[in-house]
Amino acid sequence: MDRRFPHPDLLDGIRVSGPILLGIIPFAMVAGISAANAGMTVIEAVGMSVFVFAGASQLAAIDLIDSNAPFAVVVVTAVIINVRMLMYSASIAPYFQALSTRVRALLAYVLTDQAYAMSVAEYERKPERSRLWYYSGIGFTLWIVWQIGTFVGAVVGAGVPEALGLEFALPLVFLALLVPAMKDRGTTTAAIVAGAVALGAAVAGVPLSLDLPIAAVCGILAGIAIDAWGNI
């Protein structure tokens, strides 16, 4: 094992996080601003970012706390939004198999859409990448920036002008990873079906952000079906 520190793959992980931050910083600031607007203290706002560290579910929880929703509704809603991470956990788990339980727990704590998608894409492209260090470079960079962004948002209260649409940088990151992930007939079918179902679910108004897990499962099943069909 490579004992250099900082490991070069850690530095590469930090480097590739750069463009993602364009989308993360305004998102984190919105989390801080809405917490402050809901009447939460700065410590509570940052505390939520430290303990939960998941943007969409934090915003949903803050919104529901703001409107005095029942305790169970807030917790269940916020947790269901994070159910999609079950798929990330399963998908990235084989790459972390050789690491100790303690290290795996730490890596799980910083599992996000971005860290998952960027790392798995890179492991596929370059199998010699250090699984631990490359992922850590992305995961912990996002973690630190998320905490600072929430703090600044909660304290200063002013955000980045909405017209700039910086939050659009996040779907662009996913798009950049999606294109190479559609590498054959099965995966392409999975993507098309998942995208169509997600769009349909958005129109139909599926509650509690269940649209993503539902769409992803439909896409995966379609991909399996089309590949099985071809082998008959």
């Binding site: 463009p19 809901a38 509570e44 505390g47 939520m48 939960v52 929880a61 706390i65 703001d66 409107s67 005095n68 305790f71 807030v74 917790v75 916020a78 991470m85 079950l86 798929m87 399963a90 998908s91 788990a93 084989p94 972390f96 198999q97 690491l99 339980t101 795996r104 727990a105 890596l107 704590y109 998608a117 649409g165 659009f168 940088a169 996040l170 779907p171 990151v173 996913f174 798009l175 950049a176 990873l177 294109v179 190479p180 992930a181 099965g186 392409t188 999975a190 993507a191 079906v193 998942a194 169509a196 997600a198 769009l199 649209d211 993503l212 769409a215 992803a216 896409g219 995966i220 399996i224």
Partner: protein, 116 residues
């Protein structure tokens, strides 16, 4: 403004955080305890990135409007088409974001900057 007490807020934060961590850890913990991931599971997992990424991207780019024209003539759709082409040619995240955001801003602010 919320009427929630501070202990209630902290209890919610703690509970959401704990459940979220359990979700994140689930398979990462489980697969570490076994020697090999079953072939059937690996087979299913290979579709996960494409499906999840598409489900994240498409609704963020397209908002269904009453007409097809209103749905497709949209600055985000145009930016995503350019970005998608860049992603396909370069497979570079930075170039994809740069040209995608550039297209979005050119459509949003270009006309007024040029005094049109």
């Amino acid at each position: 403004m919320t009427a929630w007490s501070s202990p209630a807020i902290w209890a919610a934060i703690g509970l959401i955080g704990l459940c979220t961590f359990a979700i994140r850890l689930s398979f990462i913990y489980l697969f570490g305890q076994i020697d090999t991931v079953p072939d059937r599971v690996e087979h299913v997992l290979r579709y996960v990135p494409a499906a999840v990424l598409a489900a994240l991207v498409i609704p963020a780019v397209i908002t269904i409007q009453p007409t097809i024209e209103a749905t497709l003539v949209d600055d985000r759709v145009a930016a995503a088409i350019i970005a998608g082409a860049v992603a396909w040619r370069t497979e570079d995240v930075f170039a994809t974001i740069a040209l995608g955001m550039g297209t979005l801003w050119a459509i949003r602010f270009g006309p007024s900057l040029l005094g049109l």
